[in-house]
């Protein structure tokens, strides 16, 4: 545990001593702010339009959760697909390149401690990112009346989604000593799992549900809607565990080659 925390602390600190963390956080908040502003402006415009049409049915069906928070979270999720590989690409690849891998592997710590420590560092960073973006829903809470529970469930979804991205990123980073390869293969994997359910409707009765189940979006969508189902939580946790287990295997197998 102590060793795990030492590795996690080291990785987390290295995000902040290099400009990586600041660039990523700024970019994430900037894009988030832009999405938020535009969604809100659009919402406002529609509200005005329907009010002038005096269409009470549509006006009743319009709410901040569905029209602002949900699309905001979906957009942020796509931004995470692109940003997380940039955060995690260094994880193992840079240790190998700079020779510090030898230090870690000859220290009296286990490979599990290294892998879990590295994940934990990214996990805390993602938590920070989600925490900072909760600023936008908080503004809504202050000035409007969206449902807080649904927002929290959506933020939990974003956090779980980001954490599983981190686990996948650490896995791809453990396969290579080249950061670009680590980042690109992570990005491709994440995008693939993001859109894998697209052909689900026409894929037939057996393949369709399977595609839907492995798709990240489907599970994230439920949480954004405010449905906290153990199945979705279990899905994200199993993605994390599986990715970390594969990392462990890849680190161990590299030594035997």
């Amino acid at each position: 545990m102590r060793n795990t925390l030492a590795i996690a602390g080291k990785d987390l600190r290295s995000y902040f001593t290099s400009p990586v963390a600041y660039v990523v956080l700024t970019g994430f908040l900037l894009l988030g702010g832009w999405f938020f502003f535009n969604l809100l402006a659009q919402f406002n415009q529609l509200l005005m339009a329907y009010m002038s049409f005096r269409n009470p049915e549509i006006l009743d069906s319009m709410n901040l959760n569905e029209w602002v928070v949900a699309p905001l979270l979906h957009n942020l999720a796509i931004v995470l697909v692109i940003l997380v590989p940039m955060i995690t690409m260094r994880s193992f690849a840079e240790e190998k390149k700079s020779g510090t891998y030898e230090l870690l592997m000859t220290s009296p710590i286990t490979v599990t401690e290294i892998v879990v420590g590295k994940f934990l560092g990214g996990f805390v960073f993602i938590f920070l990112m989600v925490l900072l973006t909760s600023l936008y829903p908080a503004i809504l809470m202050w000035f409007g009346n969206p449902e807080g529970g649904i927002i929290l469930s959506g933020l939990l979804g974003l956090f779980l989604l980001g954490s599983s991205f981190v686990a996948v990123g650490i896995f791809t980073s453990s396969l290579t000593d080249n950061q670009i390869i680590a980042a690109v293969s992570c990005l491709v994997t994440l995008l693939l799992f993001y859109i894998i359910s697209w052909p689900a409707d026409s894929a037939g009765e057996t393949l369709g549900p399977i595609l839907r189940y492995v798709s990240l979006t489907e599970h994230f969508d439920e949480l954004v809607k405010g449905v906290i189902d153990t199945r979705d939580i279990v899905y994200f946790v199993s993605v994390i565990v599986l990715a970390l287990f594969l990392t462990l295997r890849s680190v161990e197998s590299l030594r035997w080659r």
């Binding site: 060793n3 030492a6 290295s14 020779g99 030898e102 230090l103 000859t106 009296p108 030594r255």
Partner: protein
């Protein structure tokens, strides 16, 4: 203290180390000599547990490096050829990180860091970022890293490479001061360094031990240069080319 027995390491078809055996006693400085690509680094990486051997065993302080890896790692300080430094860390935060993963209790960390900073003469750079340090300081931080948990065995892979003469002299005197209680394995291809520092010499060529003897016995009749050339060249002449093809390709 260190017993290497019949060590063999293959990388695919390449036979990097073949049936290497030698031993180092407590307090000895063992010079590990050989031409480039002879298998020095591979052997050292196996002793430190970074690479597993294809066959053969290594015992450090009575512990098997494979069966009791954690016990061995606690007792070994290792300076690889390129010091394993995180370029964005300061010297002090780097040393305390290494101290933690080497298993030093949190309360003893400042004291341990203090000790190696003093012994490697790093006082003036403790707050500097590692990426900005000169080669000589980087090497010394690497040495400090290897020493922080007060290991009984030190493995140094070409510790004086790329340093200026002044720094070489500093590092050598440091290594001499470090021995005593510790066993040191030192790889190099600078022969005078071995003559000055080491008690025992192992010459390795093409993955095999060419000679293992004390420095006095070896330099009784001829200089170390002559000894080195004799074993390296005679080995080349004797070995059947077809047999050694695997080791050099």
């Amino acid at each position: 203290m260190i017993q290497v027995e019949h060590l063999t390491k293959r990388f695919g078809d390449l036979l990097a180390v073949e049936n290497v055996s030698f031993a180092a006693d407590k307090g000895q400085i063992l010079g590990f000599l050989g031409p480039n690509g002879a298998g020095k680094t591979t052997t050292m990486r196996i002793i430190t547990g970074f690479l597993p051997a294809t066959s053969g065993t290594v015992r450090v302080a009575g512990f098997d490096i494979f069966e009791q890896a954690q016990e061995v790692r606690r007792r070994i300080g290792y300076l690889p050829e390129n010091p394993p430094l995180y370029d964005d860390m300061t010297v002090s935060s780097y040393l305390s990180f290494v101290g933690r993963i080497k298993g030093i209790p949190r309360l003893d960390l400042p004291e341990a860091a203090e000790r190696v900073i003093e012994c490697c003469a790093l006082t003036e750079v403790v707050d500097r970022v590692l990426g900005h340090l000169s080669k000589g300081f980087r090497q010394r931080v690497g040495l400090a890293q290897a020493l922080i948990h007060d290991p009984s065995v030190l493995i140094l892979d070409e510790p004086t490479i790329g340093l200026d003469p002044r720094q070489i002299i500093d590092i050598r005197s440091l290594i001499r001061n470090l021995s005593g209680e510790r066993t040191v394995i030192l790889s190099t291809h600078i022969l005078p360094e071995v003559a000055q520092l080491c008690d025992k010499v192992v010459i390795i060529d093409r993955g095999r031990v060419a000679v293992e003897n004390s420095i006095e016995a070896l330099t009784e009749e001829m200089s170390l240069e002559e000894v080195f050339l004799k074993y390296i060249s005679s080995d080349r002449a004797i070995v059947d080319p077809s047999e050694s093809a695997g080791a050099t390709s």
